[in-house]
């Protein structure tokens, strides 16, 4: 028995498999041509896709726009870098970054979840600014220059080891981790907990009367999203060998929001496609003009105004039809809103 949410999620999985296939082709092609530039670019795109995924968990499922999700990405990156510089162990760095972001996101969640809507957006923005400025001014963390000289580590898998300096190997590892985070997020949304999140977005004020604590649900998704951002950020210094305060700045958070909007809010896989698309756009447009922001800004605005489900919203109904093999029941916004408007205007 499939309901609408499950069908949409399956369609997202189809898109995820397509992405995975494309990524594996890139890896094979990169290995054959001995490329490192495109593989490392692809790796970076996937890392930022993890950050976008965490923004979509909040925006797409609980309806909360975070303008400071880079905070947890940056904390993950810095903790990972500090760990790697002390003990060159990839898994230890990931664990430390995960733990640190869990703590940070719990604190951040206690602060941010006191408010809703636009105030939530502004408070997350403000928190990220405060921490970013503190990091920017802390000499022990390299201040404005960040930290360089993070060693290239061997990533252990039992008896085997892959060097983080191996473009194909590390690309595949990052691919596995990011797709794993996607899978975990998708799984969570298919649980009773995840359904409460979708209820939050649909009608938050009704949720307490069903017996669920709004605060607890918001807190849980906030901490989980922080963890996703932190683990993604932890991969960054392994790839680039440095971290800088820019990782926490608004531009980083803003790019993640752009990725989610381009790819499709509330689709999870859209966030990943969006992040990849953003990197591709930047490098393609960037090859003939440095003013890629005009194009990206325009695309972004068009998506906000006319394509509320982004690119995935474009393609997914088609896949959904293939899955259920019945005419689509995708209900357009115009079909929903009169009913909502009617019931609201009764007040």
């Amino acid at each position: 028995m499939l309901d609408r949410l499950a069908i949409s999620m399956r369609a997202s999985h189809v898109l995820a498999i397509l992405l995975l296939a494309a990524a594996l082709c890139l890896a094979a092609l990169g290995a054959a041509l001995d490329d490192s530039f495109y593989l490392r670019l692809g790796t970076e795109a996937l890392i930022f896709a993890g950050l976008a995924l965490s923004v979509d968990l909040l925006l797409g499922y609980s309806g909360a726009l975070s303008l400071g999700q880079a905070l947890y990405f940056g904390i993950g990156a810095y903790v990972s870098a500090l760990t790697l510089m002390t003990v060159p162990s990839f898994w230890l760095a990931m664990a430390a970054a995960g733990l640190a972001t869990l703590v940070a996101a719990t604190i951040g969640g206690l602060i941010a979840n006191r408010v809703r809507g636009v105030y939530f957006a502004l408070i997350t923005f403000g928190m990220a600014q405060v921490v970013a400025k503190v990091v920017y001014n802390t000499r022990e963390l390299g201040a404005s220059d960040g930290m360089i000289g993070i060693p290239v580590v061997q990533i252990q898998f039992g008896p085997f080891a892959i060097s983080a300096g191996n473009p194909v190997g590390f690309f595949l590892i990052v691919l596995a981790i990011i797709m794993g985070l996607y899978g975990l997020s998708a799984y969570l949304l298919e649980t009773p907990f995840g359904r409460v999140l979708t209820a939050l977005k649909a009608n938050e004020r009704r949720v307490p009367f069903l017996g669920y604590s709004v605060w607890r649900a918001r807190m849980a998704v906030y901490v989980f999203a922080g963890l996703v951002a932190g683990l993604s950020g932890a991969l960054y210094p392994v790839l680039r060998g440095f971290v800088s305060p820019e990782l926490m700045f608004f531009a980083t958070s803003g790019n993640a929001v752009i990725s989610v909007i381009l790819g499709g809010v509330g689709t999870l896989i859209g966030a990943i496609y969006g992040a990849v698309l953003l990197v591709i756009l930047k490098s393609i447009i960037g090859s003939w003009t440095e003013h890629h922001l005009i194009v990206i800004g325009l695309l972004f605005m068009l998506c906000v105004m006319f394509l509320p489900k982004g690119l995935v919203g474009f393609s997914r109904p088609w896949i959904e039809r293939r899955i259920v093999r019945v005419p689509s029941q995708e209900v357009t916004a115009s079909a929903v809103s009169p009913a909502i408007a009617k019931s609201r205007s009764a007040s």
């Binding site: 649980t191 009367f209 669920y212 079909a335 009913a339």
Partner: protein, 247 residues
């Protein structure tokens, strides 16, 4: 002695000096239908908000099943077995009919199921199916709640309230805006509920109230004017002057 399902003692709240609900006391007996009536502005919906945790009372007590829950939040009162509907349809309009029901029904599952796949929540899934059948919504199960007709939405709302198997059901004007046929239909439905739950209603349709209720509480200007069996209340001269006089 078994305490009443709901016991309200001296409940009150005021907004900016206006006593919206003032010193209201009554109790609701198990498996019966109690109805609150009163002209517009009598404080009926505010009373519901105080009982259900949407508002915190200034004075008085709310006891659910003999346990004091006066200052309990909405979700605490829900956990104590109280479920409510709203005067203005309040559903998850962007979710399907089945999903609306399942959200309520998944509360039946132990908390350990919260992070397991939804398929594992068998009780919730079965409950959803039963509610779809019972409320004749099965053919619309995958429709978005926002696309239902007004009558179907009102029925769905009752079904959602019932899906979590509450002890006490608070229905705020369930027939509001319904056609005559739909109203009769809903009345029969509500009558059938008392096997499982106790019902506290707010209703405007006096004919319906007299047919349906076991007990009637009359409110006027925030205060309880009278209470008793429908026939007794109807013939009460004070009630007639204050309430029926308007019709």
């Amino acid at each position: 002695m078994i305490p009443p399902v709901l016991d309200v003692r001296g409940l009150g709240i005021s907004f900016g000096g206006l006593k919206a609900v003032d010193d209201v006391s009554f109790s609701v007996e198990r498996h019966r239908i109690t109805t609150i009536i009163g002209p517009n502005g009598a404080g009926k919906s505010t009373l519901f908000n105080l009982i259900s945790g949407a508002l915190t009372p200034r004075n008085g007590k709310v006891m659910i099943d003999g346990v004091e829950m006066t200052r309990g939040s909405a979700e605490q009162k829900k956990a104590a077995g109280l479920s409510r509907s709203f005067q203005i349809t309040n559903l998850f309009f962007e979710l399907t009919v089945a999903e609306n029901l399942r959200l309520a029904a998944q509360l039946l599952e132990p908390p350990t199921h919260a992070f397991l796949p939804i398929r594992r929540s068998r009780r919730a899934m079965e409950k959803t199916e039963r509610m779809l059948e019972r409320f004749r919504l099965a053919h619309r199960r995958d429709e978005l709640a926002g696309n239902l007709s007004h009558g179907d939405q009102r029925r769905l709302e009752i079904a959602v309230c019932l899906a979590s198997e509450p002890k006490l059901l608070l229905l705020d004007e369930p027939t509001q805006g319904m056609s005559h046929a739909d109203t009769q239909d809903t009345a029969a439905l509500v009558r059938g509920l008392t096997e499982d739950v106790t019902v506290l209603l707010i209703e405007h349709d006096i004919g319906l109230v007299m047919n349906l209720s076991d007990h009637v509480v009359v409110m006027h200007q925030g205060r309880k004017l009278a209470e008793g069996p429908p026939k007794v209340v109807r013939s009460d001269p004070v009630v007639q002057a204050a309430y029926f006089g308007h019709h």
